[in-house]
């Protein structure tokens, strides 16, 4: 019987070696596989490459919510379109690590998604019209195709993907919720090993086949978030209440 369910986050990340390239989407709290990131920090791997959409400083204490920034001391390279935002102190939180040699590959949000897709589809690269005439083209091959200028973008190939989904079955089929989908689907397709943390594991057949977003073939390990885990419904509600006490975040998040 196929069963991809793993009992703990620590077990799920146990084989990740130093130097691994790991996709872990994040739009602040949304789409962030918090429990897997926390487990990876506990494990203490070194020299990893982190691929994510939103690399910003921690908004909450580490016991309340974990974002990719907790991995900074363990990172060799960062691939992201968002390094800090002005309202949360800009790039200051990362500067010390850049000074110590952290490599940052900055890309546009769309381009990162297509570089991940190119990795999944085994492209050697692709010609991208976005970024022409900007710093993004520096050091890259340029080419005119049918009269339009393009930049050669290389794929991003992942060793591991951490995915934050809503429901899974033991076969690894995933459905997502709201804006937690992010780049979960494309990261899952592109990684050698995909690990999903999910709100709920359901019986095979409970997920309508027409509604499966990531098919189980792309998913290797599934961990259900326990009641005392991060990113539970209760925890997320508590974070929203706490936002009222964090001035820059409160201003940012309430319209």
């Amino acid at each position: 019987m196929i069963n991809k369910i793993v009992g703990s986050f620590d077990e799920a990340v146990a084989d990740i070696p130093d130097g691994a390239v790991i996709g872990m989407d994040s739009w602040a709290i949304a789409a962030t596989p918090q429990n897997l990131i926390a487990a990876l920090k506990r494990k203490g791997v070194r020299d990893i490459t982190v691929v994510t959409h939103c690399f910003i400083p921690m908004i909450f204490g580490e016991d309340k919510a974990v974002m990719p920034a907790v991995l900074l001391p363990q990172m060799k390279k960062l691939i992201t379109p968002v390094v800090g935002i002005r309202h949360l102190g800009g790039v200051a939180f990362v500067q010390e690590y850049i000074d110590k040699g952290l490599e940052v590959d900055q890309t546009t949000i769309g381009t990162l998604s297509y570089r991940l897709f190119a990795g999944a589809a085994r492209f050697g690269g692709f010609y991208n019209p976005v970024g022409v005439g900007t710093v993004v083209e520096e050091g890259k091959e340029k080419r005119v195709i049918d009269g339009e200028e393009y930049i050669l973008e290389k794929p991003v190939r992942l060793d591991y993907a951490f995915v934050s989904a809503h429901k899974a079955d033991r076969l690894g089929n995933l459905v997502y919720k709201g804006v937690f989908r992010g780049d979960g689907p494309v990261m899952a397709m592109g990684a050698k090993v995909t690990i999903a943390e999910v709100d709920e594991i359901v019986e095979v057949g409970e997920i309508d086949a027409e509604c499966v977003i990531t098919a189980g073939i792309f998913v290797d390990r599934v961990v259900e978030i326990p009641e005392d885990g991060l990113a539970t419904k209760k925890r997320l509600s508590e974070l929203i209440e706490e936002l009222h006490n964090i001035e820059p975040a409160r201003k940012l998040m309430f319209g």
Partner: protein, 220 residues
Amino acid sequence: MKQRLDRDGMAKRAAQELKPGDYVNLGFGIPNLCPPYAHEDVVFQTENGAIGYGPLVSADESEKADFHYHDAIGRFWVPAPGMACFDVVTSFCMIRSGRMIAILGGLEVSEKGDLANWSTGGEFGGTIGGAMDLAYGSKSVIVTMEHTTRDGKTRIVKECSYPLTRRECVDMIITDIAVIDVTPDGLVLREVAPGWTAEEVQGLTGARLTPAPDLKEIAV
């Protein structure tokens, strides 16, 4: 007396450009203030993966807030009937498809419509985000920004001095004192804020403005 539009005023003026049925992505800052002023059939898209979402959640109704439902800069909204959620690959196919209007913030716009809006330069730029995708793929690009910096330097220039987002991509500039079209013949001053003359706006502008024959006062 000379008036300057405040941030909401600029957002209101930008929202007047939106018609029922338009699909719109909003940048960070002034653009994000547009939705309450737009027609109810304007459809907003957020690049982190939703289109057709409902009203924003204010700080005193935080029981409605849910981290599954917020825009790209983290502002909570409520789900609405007919909304669709999707992944980022799909999201940027929408953004690059020419189906959407982008309202973006700006640091500088040049007389040719070059946009600089993501970095004030320096050794390490900061956040590129999705602006380059939006500036490339949108049906039209409207930039909202203050006409001058806090220390009075013009933001509308012959050549941008900050790192570019994209060359020749801006169609319209809405500032606190003017509405300007970017045309193949240069910048055309369409509207001025109440109390301002075309000459006074020109005096705060680093590129030549051609006043439109039907130059009007901004009404918001």
